[in-house]
């Protein structure tokens, strides 16, 4: 009987606004799932049954329920009242960052060393699969919790922030989103538990912003594919065990000729090339991937043949929120350092915090960073709640990256000569901030995405 009611309800729903339709559809889906699985979630059943009943009889009551629902949704969006669970997560991340990540940040930057020991510690705290379901070995938490992890860690170390972000957003997400059941079962438990690290290979020497210009090829050979070509600037390269890579299966088809593959470390013909020496995030491994007649079975094709470009773009949409969170963390980290410094640094007989210039600079820095935080969290919430988020992610990354650059520049200025030295971390933060304007889509690409949505 419920199913019938739901069906009628859904039919009726199509006559109303899209948003309300989405809400009711979600409700109907919930009821159907509960009924099919006979799960004992009596409260949800009661809620749904009540709403369905009300819908049938009194439409004005439904109106009130709808407003309540929208109010709740808006509260989550506008106030960022973190839930108790998110607050506890944040507490863990901030404690972990302070005790485990911060003490190593300067050293791994100086030595350009990958923080393997920190990755191992993140693994013990189950931080490498935060937004993925428990059935695949993830924590089963929400996307904002993952974003909070990247932010808190990046406050003290941009390198460790991107290791987590590249692994989660770029290495693991595409397999979760586009993988077959077999692929998910094969790769996700190890990735989500942190036993293996993930990476993503799209960029090539001649295919950066113009990602469609892929020159790596995948030629069919029976049931297998033979991959030839190379990728550059790949984060976690060499350190990662599982790589999602892209190659042309049909050159004549342009972007529709690109396919995605899952590739494991140690596959014959797959080697790691030149290690890049970078301005910032120097502890992160950034290297070339070289494919020389790499044979992959058809089970390693991710998604359908020719759908690789879509997989890449959708993966990057989510990834951008991660990088925006990294930029946000770097900006807040620089502010925290600057605040501590200006309170203790004395000039003209008093702490420089007493000077209006210092106060105004700090106020501007925090205001912009808070605005960026707002954008990053709303993009994360939009993704979590299944709303369109492509442009929100692009806006968040564009803004947060530019704020990170501006705030770290100002932080160095407030620290003066000391800020320019490696005795203080703001110099590193300034160098780390720059990359957030470049990778996972330059600021110019974000502007293309945003205006593209506006001018559709």
């Amino acid at each position: 009987m419920f199913i019938d009611t739901c069906y009628n309800l859904e039919k009726d729903c199509k006559k109303i606004s899209f948003q309300r339709y989405a809400w009711l559809k979600k409700l109907v889906k919930k009821i159907t799932i509960i009924l099919t699985h006979e799960k004992n979630s009596s409260k949800i059943i009661m809620d749904c049954a009540f709403i369905v009943k009300v819908y049938m009889r009194k439409k004005h009551v439904l109106q009130i329920l709808w407003f309540n629902y929208m109010y709740e949704e808006r509260r989550t969006f506008m106030d960022f009242m973190l839930t108790e669970q998110q607050k506890m997560m944040k507490k863990l991340f901030s404690e972990f960052a302070e005790k485990e990540v911060k003490p190593l940040a300067g050293e791994i930057d100086e030595e350009e060393r990958f923080p393997r020991e920190t990755v191992e510690k993140m693994r013990t705290c189950a931080m490498l699969g935060i937004p993925f379901p428990r059935e695949y070995g993830g924590a089963g938490a929400d996307y904002l919790s993952y974003i909070l992890a990247v932010e808190e860690i990046s406050k003290v170390c941009g390198t460790t922030g991107v290791v987590l972000s590249a692994h989660t957003s770029l290495g693991t997400t595409p397999i979760y989103m586009f993988g077959t059941d077999e692929q998910k079962k094969k790769y996700l438990p190890d990735l989500c538990s942190g036993k293996k690290l993930g990476a993503f290979g799209l960029t090539e020497p001649n295919a950066g912003t113009d990602a469609a210009g892929q020159q790596t090829t995948a030629v069919k050979d029976g049931d297998d594919y033979i991959i030839n070509g190379s990728k550059i600037f790949i984060t976690n390269a060499g350190e990662a065990d599982v790589y999602v890579i892209f190659a042309m299966t049909d050159k004549t088809q342009g972007t529709r000729g690109i396919s995605a593959f899952i590739l494991e470390k140690g596959t014959p013909g797959f080697t790691i090339g030149k290690h890049e020496k970078k301005l910032g995030i120097r502890g992160s491994a950034t290297s070339e991937l070289i494919f020389n007649n790499v044979r992959l079975s058809k089970d390693q094709l991710l998604g359908q043949e020719g759908k690789g470009f879509k997989i890449a773009m959708q993966t990057l949409d989510g990834g951008r929120i991660g990088i925006a969170a990294q930029a946000l963390g770097i900006a807040q980290g620089a502010i925290d350092e600057a605040v501590a410094y200006v309170k203790s640094r004395k000039q003209f007989g008093r702490p420089i915090a007493k000077f209006q210039n210092t106060q105004f600079q700090l106020a501007d820095m925090q205001t912009k960073t808070d605005a960026a935080r707002w954008m990053v969290y709303s993009a994360a919430m939009a993704k979590e709640t299944g709303q369109p988020y492509t442009y929100l992610a692009a806006e968040a990354k564009l803004f947060a990256a530019e704020v990170a650059m501006e705030v770290t520049t100002k932080a160095i200025q407030l620290l003066g000569g000391y800020g320019y030295t490696r005795d203080y971390p703001v110099e590193r933060m300034f160098r780390d901030a720059k990359i957030t304007e470049i990778y996972e889509g330059t600021s110019e690409v974000q502007r293309m995405v945003i205006s593209g949505q506006m001018l559709r």
Binding site: Q85, M88, L92, T124, C125, A126, R134, A139, G140, A141
Partner: protein, 262 residues
């Protein structure tokens, strides 16, 4: 093995304000943490669980808001959390607290009880030992390491100021732990998510078999008459002496003040 850890939520601040009239602490507005010695006890229990298998129950007595702290312990991997909370227990000193805890422990059952040495707010170090006395079981205080445990005995290292003792105690017994004995583990994302589907069990006065005169203010012989901040006199003496004589003078003074013993 059933391990019960006694845990207290304490204010995370050195600037604790005191209610001048009652002489008790004002807790509102001060961020709370898990008492460090108790957290070491929880970690010790978790390590025992990993090594030998055990069921860990946390018991805390305090206001209802202490439930949040107990959720954090779920997120570190304990099995059960019980909060003893009731207006009847308000104003308890260590005497009434240990009576209440002993009543709860009798109800819950135990093979090993671990408590922190002392809480950073009261610094009495009395609740653990008193609880052991009320239960009539052995106790080892100032435990710095749990060396070995089997079904009948536990071997521990007790750290005293100038020596260490290796002691064996019959089970069940009470151990009080020092915060330096281990590095408490972090919460775990999976356990954080799970902790929100676990319930902090509440025990009230009615759940415990205990006389009303033994709990709360009524059961507390301690009365705080006056609370004040100790005045520190900054008496300074200046000496100008050669280095070796200065060293001797410093050593002599420290010995006189009993700050060093050798």
């Amino acid at each position: 093995m059933k391990i019960v850890v006694l845990v207290k939520q304490v204010p995370d601040s050195t600037e604790i304000r005191v209610d001048k009239e009652t002489g008790t602490l004002i807790r509102a507005g001060v961020p709370s943490i898990i008492n460090p010695d108790d957290l070491a006890g929880v970690e010790a229990a978790l390590q025992l669980k990993e090594k030998n298998g055990a069921h860990i129950t946390i018991i805390s007595m305090g206001p209802p808001m202490a439930a949040d702290m107990l959720k954090e312990l779920y997120a570190r991997g304990v099995d059960d959390c019980i909060l003893i909370t009731d207006r009847a227990f308000a104003g308890a000193d260590t005497c009434a607290t240990s009576s209440t805890l002993a009543a709860a422990l009798n109800k819950v059952g135990y093979d090993l009880i671990i408590a922190g040495r002392q809480a950073i707010d009261g610094d009495t170090a009395q609740v653990g030992p008193q609880t052991a006395e009320r239960l009539g079981i052995p106790q080892v205080t100032y435990v710095d390491e749990i060396i070995d445990i089997n079904d009948t005995t536990v071997t521990v290292k007790k750290a005293l100021e100038d020596c260490e003792q290796i002691l064996e105690a019959k089970l069940p017994c009470v151990l009080t732990t020092l915060s330096g004995m281990n590095e408490p583990r972090y919460m775990n994302c999976n356990d954080i998510v799970d902790s929100f589907s676990k319930e902090v069990k509440i025990m009230t006065f009615n759940d415990l078999e205990i006389d009303a005169s033994k709990v709360g203010l009524a059961g507390s012989p301690t009365k705080v008459h006056h609370t004040f901040t100790k005045e520190v006199s900054a008496e300074t003496q200046t000496f100008t002496l050669p280095a070796d004589e200065t060293a001797k003078l410093i050593a002599k003074t420290l010995k006189e003040k009993q700050l060093i013993t050798k």
